[in-house]
Amino acid sequence: MLGNVTLLDFLSIGREVPGHKPWPRFQLDLPGWRSFEDRLAAADWVLLAEWAEPNEVHAAFRDEQTGDIAVVSHPCLNHRFVALGKRRPGAIRMERAIHDLYGLAPQGIADQRPWLDHGRWKVKHPLGSPRAYDGGPQPYKFRAAEGDGLHQIPVGPVHAGIIEPGHFRFHAQGETVVRLEERLGYVHKGIEGLVQGKPIADAARIVSRTSGDSTVAYALAFAQAVEAAARIEAPPRAQYLRVLMAELERIANHLFDIGAICNDAAFALMLSHLGVQRERVLQANAACFGHRLLMDRVVPGGVAADLTDEGRAALREMLHRVSKGFRRALHLYEETPSLLDRTTGTGVVSGSLVHRFGAGGYVGRASSRGHDARKVPGYAPYADLDFEIPVRAEGDVHSRILIRAEEIHQSLSLIDQILARMPAGPLTVPLPTRAGEGLGIVEGFRGEVVVWVRVSEAGKVVRLHPHDPSWFQWPLLEAAIEGNIVADFPLINKSFNCSYSGHDL
């Protein structure tokens, strides 16, 4: 019977862990976890994130039918667990990372190579039962491609532009890419280890630097998680200011990335024109909130900066100029056939892959997966604001550009509404020192950012996991490049713009 058992119905076989907010957490024993893994073959439950602690694995899921969210936990016996990667391929790299960091071995997935651990930390399983390691780096076995006239192109970790480090191994036949395999983990900083035992404020500073381009999204997801654990809510004005900053972040990133994609097709004018528009947003950020990238402005309990009347006027002026400037740039893009020729039909990701990996953001929305955390599960005050989620089906570079362009329009309109409706009132509520666990889910510009936290009686962070949307997008980049020419890789890669830092933790 694989009928309509909902996620929450199914999980009632487990033990509900008290104090996990705002969504429940269930602990499953070995038979329970096994049958859960089995059920994933048929159930429409989307994996949101998977993480671990020394003797337990956790996975957050959303039931696509009901919208319910729950965390499923499984205490691991003998440092092993039945992997979810067989049913949810997006989990495979996360489970390899869990093995590297915590020493819990995923059973049932073929790929057992280390992922974040390059053999350079002087320690194995640093967050589980650490043991000293002095064996040095071990060679990484890339998957092979065989055939006549194939050659390999190794790229990175140091790339040619001002971008983050990672290694790409191409197998190509002439100009055509037969296989791309990524190797990541170069910027692993040990964020989960660093935040352990830290006061909330110190942890917030670190978490909001998980991926600098999504600092508002991470700070907001962390604040949501901490506030849920402490059973408080940020005041209404703070909620409005938070999403104001989140939308400014979205616009700034989309503007620059559209320019950068065109630049990778050697159309530099778009980059300079949109670089100026982005600069206008950042200067308004600095004028209104005191930081160009809005770092440390969203804090647990509320926000650290208010919007003055002058700030409001500056924002309105900026909005006017940016929307005019952006309209011109988009017109230029749409009327330049040589540029469209590079982006149209390039780097196609199929809708079925996007759904199988649960990829969100513009990568998902350009390939017919219209999920957006601002709508489901939704968080204040988006329910009071009017906006639409653009969805397309082509899945190529061009449609990812158009999705982002439409999102800029929607965000500009959202900011208009936010400025018009922002309530007066306090900016923060005091954070009570109380033990608890919380989950925060925020739609960053790239997709769904998930932060899970456990707070101690003393108000310190016991465990924390920040999840980047890139985990589910990086594997799709390998599929998108297949059959394209090597020269189109920068273009396709930029149209994904996955985060290295957010993924490598």
């Binding site: 900083k189 040990g190 660093l194 300079s272 100026v276």
Partner: protein, 175 residues
């Protein structure tokens, strides 16, 4: 129909560039440089400095501001400062991030591939001493733990103006 690219170009010809005047070289940066560069050959590079950027574990915030320093508003290239694709073409390595252990060897190899005379600029609070990532099992804790550093540009991340004045200070003295 007039193609949109012509309109855009015409508008900029008539209205002039977005570029703002550059800041004076920073006193802090200068002080740090005087010792390092006084003995180095001047005039060897002219007003031309080629920089290879290496992300050694940054959160990517510094990279965003480096891109901003290259936008038409700040226009780094007008000072003869240019970002290059290979360390073989570089005079300066500009390093961001706390230097993750996983990047340390790549960073060292990039440095070895850079021809002498060469300088190392550490950009951002993480690159200075590890910043908020200091003390982790996975990071070396600042660029100076791995390479000799000639100039620090502090900030989290440094603004394009900070970057500009730090690099200008470098340029003044390399010349």
């Amino acid at each position: 129909m007039i193609p949109p690219i012509s309109r855009l170009l015409a508008r900029h010809l008539l209205k002039g560039p977005h570029t703002v005047p550059g800041p004076a070289p920073s006193a802090d940066g200068l002080a740090e440089l005087v010792d390092e560069f006084a003995t180095q050959a001047r005039g060897r590079l002219g007003r031309s400095l080629a920089i290879r950027e290496v992300d050694a574990g940054s959160c990517n915030g510094c990279e965003l501001e480096l891109h901003a320093a290259n936008n038409p508003v700040y226009d780094l290239e007008r000072f003869g400062i240019k970002f290059v694709a290979s360390p073989r073409h570089a005079d300066v390595l500009l390093v961001t991030g706390p230097v993750s252990h996983n990047m340390a060897e790549a960073l060292k190899r990039t440095w070895e591939a850079t021809p002498a005379p060469k300088w190392v600029v550490a950009m951002g609070d993480c690159a200075f001493d590890g910043g908020c990532f200091a003390g982790s099992y996975a990071v070396a804790g600042g660029v100076s733990a791995v390479l000799p550093v000639d100039l620090h540009i502090k900030g989290c991340p440094p603004s394009p103006k900070d970057i500009l004045s730090g690099l200008l200070a470098l340029l003044e003295h390399v010349r």
